[in-house]
C-alpha cells in the first residue's frame, strides 16, 4: 500500500479506537517509518524538532493567563462588563455569552478554557431564562472559538513561528475578522431571540454601568499591554505573554487579593498539564508532518488542487474544504503545523498575502473546535448543558456556517484582515 495512505488510515484507525491524538500521530508515523525501512530514532528526533522553538514559549504563558483569570475574580468582572454593555439587548444572555468570549479571547489564547469557565456560569443561566439547552451549548462553544482568531492566539503564534510570518502582524490581522464573527453571532442570536421571545436583562443604569466598567478596566488592560507592546516594539510575542501574566498576577494577588500566594503552586502546576498536552500533540505533529513532507505529500495535494482549477477563488475554496476536513480530527495547532507547507503553497499560488492567508486558515480551522468528532469545545459545552451532542451539533451548524461565511467574505475583502495591519504596521506592505 502507498505509505501516505497507510499513514492516514493508521492514524484514523487509532483515533477511532480512542487512542489519544498525540499517541496516534506518533504510532501511525512509527508504523510507516518501520515499513519504509527507516530508523525509529527519526520519530524522537522530529518530535523534538516540533517543539524546539523559542516562540512557542508564548503558549504556556497564555495558558497560565487563562488559569489566572479563573482563579480570582477577573472572569466575573468581565462577565459584569459584558452584562452591563450588551445584556439589555433582546436575547441578552446570548449576547453576553458572545461578548465575554470576545473579551476573554483577547486575554487567553485558549478556546477550551473559555468554554469551561464562561460556560459553567452562563449555560445554566441561559437554560433558566428559557433558552433551549442545545442552543446555549452551541453558542457558548462557537463563540469560544473566537479565542483562536482574536489575539493573542496560539494558532497564530504557531503559524508565524513555523511559517516565517510576523506574529505581531498576524495578531493585528486577527482582530477585525474575529470581532466580525462575534457580531454575526450576536446578530444571529438577536434574530432567534425575536422569533422565540428570549428575554433581555434590565439595564443597570448609567451610574452602575460606570462603576462596573471601572471595576473591569484593569483586566481589560491586558490586551492593550500585549498588542501594544508587540506592535510598539517593546517586546516579542513570548515576552508580551509574560508581561500579561505578570499584570494578571499583580491584579489578582496584590490589588484584588482574591488569589492568595499559597494558591499559586496549584495554579502553576495545573497550567503545566494544560500546555504540556497540546505541546506534546505538537511534538507528535512534528514527526507526522515531517513524514508527510518526506513522502512528498504537500506536492501531491498542491498538484491535485491545481490540476482541478487555477482560479484563485476556487483554489481558496478547495483549501477551505480541506481545512474543514482536517479540523474535524486534528486540533488547530497540530493541523497548522502539519499542513503549513500546503496552506502556504496554495496561498502563494492563489496570490494571497501571507498574513491574510494565516488569518484565513486560522478562522477556518477554528470551526474544527466545534465540529465532530473532535470538537472539544462543543463536547465540554454539551456536558455542561446536559444536552445530547447530536442536538447541540444541529444548533451549532448555522453558527459554524456564519464563521465560514466571514472567512469567505474576508477573502473577497482583504482589508477586513489587512486593513488594521496596514494602518498600524504600514511598512509591511510597502513595495509589494
Amino acid at each position: 500500500m502507498n505509505p501516505l495512505v497507510t499513514l492516514l488510515l493508521a492514524f484514523f484507525a487509532l483515533i477511532a479506537v480512542r487512542v489519544n491524538i498525540g499517541f496516534a500521530l506518533i504510532l501511525s508515523s512509527a508504523l510507516v517509518i518501520t515499513m519504509e525501512g527507516l530508523p525509529l530514532i527519526s520519530v524522537v528526533n522530529q518530535m523534538f524538532a516540533g517543539i524546539d522553538s523559542f516562540t512557542l514559549l508564548a503558549v504556556p504563558f497564555f495558558m497560565l493567563l487563562g488559569r489566572l483569570l479563573n482563579a480570582g475574580s477577573i472572569t466575573t468582572r468581565l462577565l459584569e462588563v459584558a452584562d452591563a454593555t450588551v445584556g439589555h439587548v433582546r436575547g441578552g444572555l446570548g449576547h453576553v455569552n458572545v461578548f465575554v468570549s470576545m473579551v476573554f479571547a483577547s486575554l487567553s489564547g485558549s478556546a477550551a478554557a473559555d468554554t469551561a469557565s464562561v460556560g459553567s456560569i452562563l449555560i445554566p443561566a441561559m437554560k433558566q431564562a428559557g433558552y433551549p439547552a442545545p442552543f446555549a451549548a452551541a453558542l457558548t462553544a462557537a463563540s469560544s472559538t473566537l479565542g483562536v482568531i482574536i489575539p493573542p492566539s496560539i494558532i497564530l503564534i504557531v503559524y508565524g513561528a513555523f511559517g516565517n510570518v510576523s506574529i505581531g502582524a498576524l495578531f493585528v490581522g486577527g482582530v477585525v475578522p474575529g470581532v466580525l464573527v462575534g457580531l454575526f453571532m450576536m446578530g444571529y442570536t438577536y434574530v432567534l431571540a425575536v422569533r422565540y421571545g428570549y428575554p433581555a436583562n434590565p439595564f443597570p443604569g448609567m451610574s452602575a454601568m460606570g462603576r462596573i466598567l471601572v471595576r473591569g478596566a484593569p483586566p481589560l488592560m491586558i490586551p492593550v499591554i500585549v498588542l501594544g507592546g508587540i506592535v510598539g516594539g517593546i517586546f516579542t510575542p513570548t515576552e508580551g505573554a509574560i508581561a500579561a501574566v505578570l499584570w494578571a498576577l499583580f491584579l489578582s494577588v496584590v490589588v484584588y487579593r482574591d488569589v492568595p500566594l499559597r494558591a499559586l503552586p496549584k495554579v502553576l502546576a495545573d497550567a503545566v498539564v494544560d500546555f504540556a498536552i497540546p505541546m506534546f500533540t505538537v511534538a507528535g505533529a512534528g514527526i507526522f508532518g515531517w513524514l508527510i513532507a518526506y513522502l512528498g505529500a504537500a506536492q501531491i495535494v498542491v498538484d491535485f488542487i491545481l490540476g482541478v482549477t487555477d482560479t484563485p477563488f476556487l483554489i481558496f475554496l478547495m483549501l477551505v474544504g480541506f481545512l474543514l476536513l482536517v479540523g474535524m480530527v486534528l486540533n488547530p495547532i497540530s493541523a497548522t503545523l502539519i499542513f503549513l507547507p500546503i496552506i502556504q503553497a496554495l496561498g502563494d499560488t492563489a496570490g494571497i498575502n501571507p498574513i491574510h492567508m494565516g488569518v484565513l486558515s486560522t478562522i477556518v480551522l477554528s470551526v474544527g473546535l466545534v465540529t465532530p468528532p473532535y470538537g472539544i469545545c462543543l463536547l465540554i459545552a454539551s456536558q455542561i448543558a446536559g444536552a445530547s451532542l447530536g442536538r447541540c451539533m444541529l444548533a451549532a451548524a448555522p453558527i459554524c456556517l456564519l464563521t465560514i461565511f466571514v472567512a469567505i467574505l474576508s477573502y473577497f475583502v482583504p482589508d477586513i484582515v489587512l486593513g488594521l495591519p496596514k494602518l498600524l504596521v504600514p511598512e509591511l506592505f510597502k513595495g509589494g
Binding site: 528526533n45 524546539d52 510570518v165 516594539g233 516579542t236 513532507a293 518526506y294 513595495g431
Partner: protein
Amino acid sequence: AASEVTLRIHTLVKSPHPYNDMAEAMKAEIEEASGGRVEVKIFDSGQLGQDPAVIGEMAFGTIDIMISTTSNAVQQIPEFGIFTMPYLFGSMDEALEKVGPGTPVHAHFEQVYQDRGVGMKLLALGGSGTRNMSTKNVSITAPADLAGLKMRTPPSPMDAKTWAAFGMLPVTVAWGELYAAIQTGVAEAMESSLPGYTGSKLYEVAPNLALTEHTIQVNHTSISEVTWNKLPEDLQQIVQAAAESANVLGVEKAKGYDAALVETLQSEHGVTVTRPDKTAFMEVLAPLQVELAEELDLSDEYTLLKQ
C-alpha cells in the same frame, strides 16, 4: 529501468540561491554519470526541517546529502564557529582556495566530523556570498557609527562579543521575527547574506546597507555516513566529483547573485548602499581575534586558517 539508489538532498533556502543551484548541478551530474542508477530528489526551502534536526536525520541515513551554511551546524560541530569570525578571508575566491576540497582545512574538518561522531562525511567546503550590515536609521560609513545600536544576533558568543566590540547591544531575535523587530525598533541593526536580506524584504525596514563584507559565508556539502557506506566505490567517486564541481559553481553563482542583488536593491528598492573602508573595521577586531579564538576553544582552526 528503476534506479538502484535514491539520494535526498536538503537545502534550507528558496530559489534563486547558490545552494539550490548546487543541488541542481549535483543532481544533473550524478544522474548523468551514473547512467540512471542513481535518482536524486531535491527538497529545498527547508521542507525536511531546520538544520539541527536534519543533521540528526543525516546520522540516521534518512536524509542523504545537505548543502547548508556552516554556522547552522555549530550545535553539533562547534568548530564550525570559526567561520563566523569576521574578516578571516579577503574574498570568496580566497575562501574557496583556503577551505575547498584537498586543503588542510578540509582534511581537518573531515577529522572533526569523525571525532564528533556526527554520522556525516564532509564532501566540500566553499564560499557562498558575503554577509553585510544593514541598519534602520543611520547610514554606516565607519565603525564609530555602530556604537549604541541594538544589534540582532543569533544566540552565539562569537556574534555577541564581536558586535559588543563596536559598542553595539546584542538582541536575540528569531529570523521570522526579524522584520517586525526592526520595524518596531526592538533591533536597529542586523547582518545577513544578501539573498536573506532581499528574500525577506528586510530592505523595507533596514534600508541602509553597508557592504562591510565582514564574513564570507562558508557552506558545507555533507553526505550521510550510512548512505556513503552503502554506495559502491564507483558511485562514491561520482558523488564526490559532483560535490566538488558544484562547490566551484556555488562560488561563481554567489558572486553573480551578490553583485546583481546590490544593483537591484539600489535601483529598485531605494536602498542606500555604502562601502565603508573595511580596514577600519578589521582594526577594531584584530586585537580580539586571537583571544576570541582561544576563549571559544577554536585556536587550532584559527591557526590553520591564518597559515
